[in-house]
Symmetry: C2
Subunit: 319 residues, 2 copies
DNA sequence: CTCGCGTCATGCCACCAGCGAATGTCTAGC
DNA sequence: GCTAGACATTCGCTGGTGGCATGACGCGAG
């Protein structure tokens, strides 16, 4: 039973073993062949290369100059194949490899870094890259095989449609609640399931002049008409304005952890803001790498830990 | 007809070609396989390594991370085997390799260097080493596979017996004549087939105190009893003594070219000194390297060019 | 929507490459 | 000369390997 579970490289092993032991018979015994098999293997090799590779002596064999030359290459080749095997195994055991993750901006605030931390702790050998971009871009990059996995968010139907069009697989992670960031000491600080109507008198800070592009705009469908006092795209500036008491703003739950601690917050009633679902997105058709496969459960667990209930952690007032 | 004249490395080529073309079908066409064969080759590879190597896309395939890893090694391995092939071919065409020649001292004076010159001119890539030693030692080194070829000399029967005992093959090259080196202007300068009796009054310079070890001693059997004036092992010193007129000495024909030009010389009648045959010696049983095989004809030709007749070149007096 | 096309996967068959067992041949050593 | 040990060779057979035909699937044109 000549160790058949390795690929057609038997002749290499046979050759090297013959050279090592200096005997067909011994090599055959070592490799679990019969002597005749070894004899013909070598004969075939010699025919193939058109030159004798071993001198047949009365007691065993000795490599000719050609044999020695080939031996060097054969050993190098075996080593090469061995390395391939080892590295491939390491890849499978996630001792090496790469994982290219993409996510939308607010996911990069807390959820993804936290999961990445757990992943890196479990698989230090894997090189992880993270980039944040808009959902549409992430889906495109998945399809282009620039990313292995992405965390995307958006309107359930539209996002799923976009993903399907690009051949991207979506797995829902959580439905994201919305918070309102309030100036310190605000009267509504810590409230849960706040109705937007209660905020009708507030001055709002929007992320863009076009309401449709903003979180706030997505609430327009419910008949709510906010008074927009400022338009600021920058996240830091936005918080600054809120902290200074110039207005309030919507904050996705995932970004709550990134809120400056002096801000008060309150959760919005789910009926007043459309659900924004967060998905794990993976390319369809391509077999997931071991790294991506290992990342997904961690991502699910991380999402699970996020509040699906009425309020998030530290939702009541500043520290 | 899948290019069957190369050794079981087909899977490497198949794999690399699939990765290169990104298609089983195209790879099959390029390698003169059918698509099904390629499909199963890859499937077998994937089973072997326990991981998918290609993502099957609607249009062709693309290597997975494991595939890319294996691809690097596969290409390296193919290159390695290719190098082996090329170097082996170069070895066969004597564009590389080595030739370890040994010879007895006087052969190193002229015959062997001359042949080596011709050889190196024809095969500049071959690394040639030359060592000179005594015949017995040369035979031993041949048997020990330290030399590829040797030029030895000695008494026909004894030498052949020694060679047989060591498993060394002998091929006669020439029967060496003997010269006498004479002081400049000596009365016998240029004589041919000189009888030793004519030299009875001369003072001889021997190489050793034990007559049996010397060329001169080998002539004792014929009843000749020389008057030994000096015993000098060193070749330069011996010539110096002769040149200064202190005596005469025997010189093997092969060393004639190395005689200092101011010495006169004469050939000795073959009946007065025992024949010393010069052989090419090669190890028996071991297949001769291409280099040794190419060297032998040159050696025969070189020996042929040496005088087998009554007198050598420039045998008459100094220049 | 359906059809056609191109792609890979698979079932079935044939072939021969390669193995095992037994035998032959050569050499060395006693 | 005989024995022992090594490689070579022969014969019969199995299993791997490729070819052919077909199936499954996704895409894109009409």
């Amino acid at each position: 039973m000549p160790d058949s579970h390795d690929f057609p490289t038997a002749w290499l092993r046979v050759f090297v073993e013959v050279a090592r032991t200096g005997s067909f018979t011994a090599a055959a015994a070592a490799l679990d062949y019969t002597q005749s098999a070894v004899s013909r293997q070598i004969a075939a090799l010699e025919a193939e290369f058109g030159t004798p590779l071993f001198d047949r002596l009365p007691r065993g064999v000795r490599p000719t100059e050609s044999g020695r030359l080939l031996l060097r290459h054969a050993e190098a080749t075996l080593a090469q194949l061995d390395r391939a095997r080892v590295e491939l195994a390491a890849l499978g055991r996630l001792e090496s490899g790469r994982l290219r993750v993409g996510c939308f901006a607010t996911a990069a605030a807390s959820l993804v870094p936290q999961v990445l931390g757990a992943f890196r702790a479990a698989h230090p050998g894997v090189v992880v890259t993270l980039e944040s971009s808009l959902t549409a871009d992430l889906l495109r990059r998945l399809a282009e095989d620039v990313l292995d996995l992405a965390v995307v968010a958006g309107d359930p139907v539209a996002t799923r449609a976009a993903a399907d069009a690009r051949g991207v697989l979506l797995e829902p992670l959580l439905d994201e609640r919305m918070l309102v960031a309030l100036p310190p000491g605000h009267r509504l600080a810590g409230r849960r399931d706040l109705r937007l109507a209660e905020l009708a008198d507030e001055s709002w800070i929007a992320g863009s002049e076009r309401p449709g592009d903003t979180l706030l705009g997505s609430a327009l469908g419910s008949g709510f008409r906010p008074h927009v006092g400022y338009v600021v795209g920058d996240w830091i500036a936005k918080q600054g304005l809120v902290a200074a008491g110039f207005g309030i703003t919507l904050v996705p739950a995932l970004a709550a952890a990134a809120l400056r601690p002096d801000l008060a917050r309150a959760t919005v009633h789910p009926d007043d803001v459309p659900v924004r679902t967060v998905w794990a997105a993976t390319p369809r058709g391509v077999t997931p790498g071991a790294a991506a496969a290992a990342f997904l459960p961690l991502l699910r667990a991380g999402a699970e830990a996020f509040p699906r209930g009425p309020a998030g952690p530290a939702v009541s007032g500043p520290a």
